[in-house]
Amino acid sequence: MPELIAKSALHGQAPKVALGTTLSEGVVEKMVSVAPYPGRGAAVDAVLGALGLRFPAAGEAVAAGDVRLIWVGRGMAFLLGADAPAGLAEHAALTDQADGWAVLRIAGPVAVDALMRPFPVDLRAAAFPVGKVARVPLNHMQAVLCRTGEDAFEIMVFRSMARTAWHEIAEAMDVLEARARAS
């Protein structure tokens, strides 16, 4: 059997640049959902400690180097950039999520303005600092929004909706560019 070709959700999509801000598709090689069983919080933290991580609080992303653990909902986080450490499956349900999500990245001076069109969320630095994560609707899609830098964000949506998600954010950037040109 020859190897099956792998394709990302937005395969071939060129980055979009407007007003010094870039929207691009991110790559997810490894992503596993971690859902600790009841009463196993300390045990989970002990295992994660080996990676320099702990289970994140609601709305939080914790990182150690390139390995990140992002809160995504009640009692669940996604581990990115590493395989689940040995022993974690004893205390938490682990499920591969790498193929289920599309990741979009946006970085630049109008990233906040562009995102505050489709996302009904306060992205002022004080309310949504670096490392903050939220489950928020991206118009009619459920998304995970994470601030990765002062002007940089990561957006995750279900893979099948990647094109719509791209369109919504790209349109917001187009509109901001047209506004800037007009003023």
């Binding site: 792998a6 394709k7 591969d96 999520q97 306060d122 002022r124």
Partner: protein, 971 residues
């Protein structure tokens, strides 16, 4: 007429625009209204009902008369207020509700017939015969009355919606708003200052006033400069706050591209949702008119508007001006005009005790008894303390006092309070939580009062936010008391005194309403239509209820106001629903096989937001049915491939996973061996079927549930509910993996042969088995399950490999004489096999109804079990799943009757849920529900669909038409 050296328009930037086909010049900074007045155009519209000639009354968004159509390509926007629309090069505007032209409108005959058209006329006159109202009277009346016209085309222009968050939202940028914004901003709060006008400054731009010794407009500009330099301040001009909602949320409409030529991606409007910790309402006040005969002629204008046109735009709308007022404030109009060299022929003051000292004649106790000039004011007749007189004037500035703009404070059911001293309604404090009203909208009518209240409101907001206030000095400004004696209408005169210009309502209509016993202000509004036009009564509400109060012998506070509701200004649905038109209405979900299916010309249909191939046409096939028939026979005789990735997939793990499944499914999963799959049925708490699907046991503590496509989200929500509500402490966790796996059905007698070429060796799977498989280095799963009735497999790989596998499977299938099949064939195959979908489990059917009551385990409890056993949920009176076979086509939605019986709701025996033409059986098949149906196999029923004119006789049979013993799928 434009005055040299006056106004804030940019004289260095002339612009050209057209109105009713004629070309005019204006300047950047002009509104259409000011530019038309500068060009001496006074007649701009026809009234709604009587087609009376109308001019410009105001200088703001409350304008009731000057409504025009703005034309843009093949689109036109009706009811644009000329007082809001800014002029730009290439603007095309035209008047509306006139034929053939604005100056000669044949429908003006309505005005001569007006004695017949008083309020309530239509209701009384056109009652009989009743069907005529809808078919004849209403269309005729609507054609005669009316405002602008729509293009009739989709509005494909760009619109935008956006969110904004701040600590303090300041609504309005007059003296109160500027002081509030400055005070809050200097304390470090995040401030949004929203202003409806294109230019900030409010009345400071329209009055001859001084603040801290500077002209008001200069002071405003200096404050704005300071605000612009602060990173915590956002200035939003051309943005009208339209509504106040819960939790400090406000709606706001920004005019983004309406004041310039269209450009790619430039939105026409943006609808903002602004969430504010605190808000300061500094929306100002609206001047009100006075009732006198024929007070609606072009050339009769609010006194404040006359000053706006003078100071803001350097325009006067006439050569000989008179002022009619009941308050001191309007005197400024006469003084400012005279200072600008305009002839003021007199001030008509309705008060007997006002000062008569001015540089022009002052007539006290004056009442206008009539006006002349059909398309433009020529003269005013009036009586006064010294007798009666006629003044030749072409502009009459009118002031009946001011109404604070209380609207937003009423959006959460607050009622304004009447203040006798200023004869006006003011906001009731606390009517909108976290909002403080300041300045003229709070009844403070002096500049100094506005500045002070603005600052104080910001201090209130800062205190509530827990912020230390900065020390902001109050500028010095005029602080004259507001002296007014109410004057609503002129007593003892003939002729119509207009209240609601936009809807052609007179004082007489209001009195008639009271006389007909519509005495409540809300009833008066409905009876007369006062306040129901685009201006929503901004110009007329208070005067109308004053007249009503008088007519009913009550006071104004007892009469009360009607309810002010959002939006404050007309707001386009296109802006509120920006991006939601056409494909933007909902997310689109695409399969990994999407491009491969489209490459083969498959029409896509949407199912649960997914786009799925309907059928795969081959050359020579003229209809979908031909393709569908071929695909069905292909699966029955050879092999077919279909993308079934849309089915919901839920990964369930934990020591209590089996226990959890036993609770949510009617049947038992704890006994399912590892490596096997079981069909499961799920009930709602009320005992009706929620969903069905297969669940595989991948490990001792690891299951994979599949759901139907349509109910994937619903089932996930149900599991979350059951888990959180009934067994939160169980050792079970689950997460959706629907999107993580691309899964393809391979079905037909040659299915195993096809898979053998792909996998080398097909695991020896029994029917309803599952195994891990390897495709090169890719790990996949192979299920032996069938939704077609043939030997069937579903092969799943991580989604990133989906497209490659689909194309590979198709190539192999086609080499073997098979190929892809779409939703149509999939549906026929499952109907032939009697498999249900949500067409059958539509929310009102039970396990008993679909013949699966034996699947409700007697050995354990499950969600919905008790409710499903209630009386009436089982028994012969229930409509039960049956198959129907006929020689003529049936339709889903048709109802079933006993042949020979009357076709009537009371003799209804059931209904059809799914239909198809079966190329295998050579017959029309259907699934449906028939009363006591399982006992009636072999009977004949009449299938009737009145909507689609279907009336055929069908044979009732078992719902499984194909391979009833299941030999083929177990092969």
């Amino acid at each position: 007429m434009r005055l040299e050296g006056k106004g804030l328009v940019d004289r260095g930037a002339p612009v050209s625009f057209t109105f009713d086909g004629r070309s005019y010049m204006g300047f950047a900074g002009d509104t259409l209204a000011s530019a038309l007045l500068a060009n001496d155009v006074r007649l701009v519209g026809r009234s709604f009902k009587y087609h009376r000639p109308r001019g410009i009354l105001t200088a703001g968004s409350e304008e009731p008369n000057a409504l025009v159509e703005v034309v843009e390509g093949n689109q036109q926007t009706p009811n644009v207020r000329a007082t809001v629309q800014e002029v730009f090069d290439g603007l095309v505007a035209r008047s509306q509700n006139r034929f053939p032209s604005l100056s000669f409108d044949v429908m003006g005959v309505n005005d001569l017939l007006s004695p017949f058209f008083s309020a309530g006329f239509y209701y009384k006159t056109f009652m009989w015969p009743r069907p005529f109202w809808e078919k004849l009277y209403e269309p005729l009346i609507r054609r005669a009355a009316g405002l602008g016209r729509l293009s009739g085309r989709h509005d494909e222009a760009q619109y935008e919606k956006a969110w904004a968050f701040c600590d303090v939202l300041v609504i309005g940028s007059g003296p109160a708003g500027l002081m509030a914004a400055l005070t809050a901003a200097q304390a470090g709060a995040d401030v949004i200052l929203a202003e409806e006008d294109a230019r900030m400054g409010g009345r400071l731009l329209s009055e001859n006033c001084r603040v801290d010794g500077q002209p008001g407009a200069d002071w405003a500009e200096a404050v704005l400069d300071e605000l612009r330099g602060m990173p915590n301040v956002r200035l939003m001009a051309r943005t009208t706050v339209t509504g106040a909602y819960d939790d400090g949320t406000f709606g706001a409409l920004e005019r983004v591209g309406l004041h310039r030529a269209p450009a790619p991606h430039l939105p026409r409007e943006c609808f903002w949702r602004i969430v504010a910790g605190q808000a300061v309402l500094a929306a100002g006040a609206l001047e009100r008119a006075v009732g006198f005969p024929d007070n609606d002629r072009p050339g009769i204008m609010l006194a404040s508007a006359v000053r706006s046109y003078l100071h803001r735009y350097g325009v006067v709308a006439g050569q000989r001006v008179a002022v009619l007022a009941n308050n001191d404030g309007a005197r400024a109009t006469a003084r400012d005009l005279m200072a600008a060299g305009v002839k003021v022929v007199g001030i008509l003051d309705t008060r007997p005790d006002a000062s008569a000292v001015e540089d022009c004649p002052v007539y006290l106790n004056a009442q206008v008894t009539g006006t002349a000039g059909r398309t433009g004011l020529r003269s005013v007749s009036f009586r006064h303390a010294g007798g009666a007189a006629v003044l030749e004037v072409d502009l009459l500035a009118v002031s009946g006092g001011w109404n604070p703009t209380v609207h937003l404070t009423c959006h959460m059911n607050g009622r304004p309070l009447w203040r006798e001293d200023i004869a006006a309604f003011v906001p009731s404090p606390g009517a909108v939580p976290r909002l403080t009203a300041a300045g003229a909208c709070n009844g403070a009518f002096s500049t100094a009062g506005c500045l002070r209240e603005g600052r104080d409101a910001a201090l209130v907001a800062l205190a509530a936010l827990g912020r230390a206030a900065s020390d902001v000095a109050l500028p010095v400004a005029e602080d004259a008391p507001y002296a007014i004696t109410p004057f609503w209408e002129t007593p003892g005169v003939e002729g119509r005194q207009w209240l609601d210009f936009a809807n052609d309502v007179t004082t007489k209509d209001v009195k008639l309403s009271a006389q007909e016993n519509f005495r409540s202000v809300e009833h008066m509004k409905r009876y007369t239509t006062q306040g129901m036009a685009p201006d929503q009564g901004k110009n007329s509400n208070v005067a109308a209820l004053a007249v009503l109060a008088d007519a009913t012998g009550r006071g104004i506070p007892q009469t009360g106001t009607t309810t002010f509701r959002p939006p404050f200004v007309p707001t386009s649905i296109a802006a509120m629903g920006a991006g939601g038109r056409g494909a933007g209405f909902a997310p689109q979900r695409f399969l990994t096989s999407d491009q491969a299916s489209r490459d083969r010309g498959a029409p896509m249909i949407e199912a649960g937001l997914w786009y799925r191939p309907s059928y795969f046409p081959k050359p020579g096939e003229a209809t979908w049915l031909e393709s569908c028939n071929r695909e069905v026979l292909m699966v029955r005789e050879s092999v077919g491939v279909a993308d079934v990735s849309t089915l919901g997939k839920i990964d369930i793990q934990g020591r209590d996973a089996a226990r959890f499944l036993d609770l949510v499914y009617t049947n038992t999963f704890s006994t399912l061996p590892v490596g096997r799959v079981r069909y499961g049925l799920m009930l709602r708490e009320d005992g009706h079927v929620l969903d069905d699907g297969t669940t595989a046991r991948l490990g001792e503590q690891h299951y994979l549930m599949t759901t139907t496509t349509a109910a994937a989200g619903l089932v996930m929500r149900h599991l979350d509910f059951v888990h959180q509500a009934f067994c939160a402490d169980w050792d079970v966790r689950f997460v959706s993996v629907t999107e993580g796996w691309a899964q393809f059905a391979v079905a037909g007698p040659k299915a195993r042969e096809l898979l053998a070429t792909l996998l080398g060796e097909v695991p020896a799977l029994p029917f309803m088995g599952v195994a891990d498989v390897a495709l090169g280095s890719v790990k996949g799963r192979l299920f032996r399950i069938s939704f077609s009735g043939e030997e069937g497999y579903e092969i799943a790989v991580p989604t990133r490999h989906g497209e490659a596998l689909f194309r590979d499977l198709l190539a192999r299938a086609e080499t073997m004489g098979g190929g892809p099949y779409g939703m149509e064939a999939l549906n026929v195959l499952r109907i032939e096999k009697g498999f249900i979908t949500h067409a059958e489990i539509h929310g009102r059917t039970t396990a008993f109804d679909i013949g699966m009551e034996k699947m409700v385990s007697a050995k354990k409890d499950c969600i919905g079990k008790a409710a499903a056993a209630r009386p009436g949920m089982v028994g012969p009176e229930r409509e039960q799943l049956v198959g129907l076979k006929a020689t003529g086509a049936m339709t889903a939605g048709a109802h079933l009757f006993v042949p020979g019986e009357r076709v009537h709701r009371e003799t209804d025996q059931g209904y059809v849920t799914s239909v198809c033409w079966s190329p295998v059986m050579g017959a029309h098949l259907a699934l449906g529900f028939l009363k006591n149906g399982r006992a009636r196999h072999g009977e004949r029923v009449r299938v009737v669909d009145h909507l689609r004119k279907i009336d055929v006789v069908a044979e009732v049979c078992d719902p499984v038409f194909h391979d009833r013993e299941g030999v083929k799928l177990r092969a």
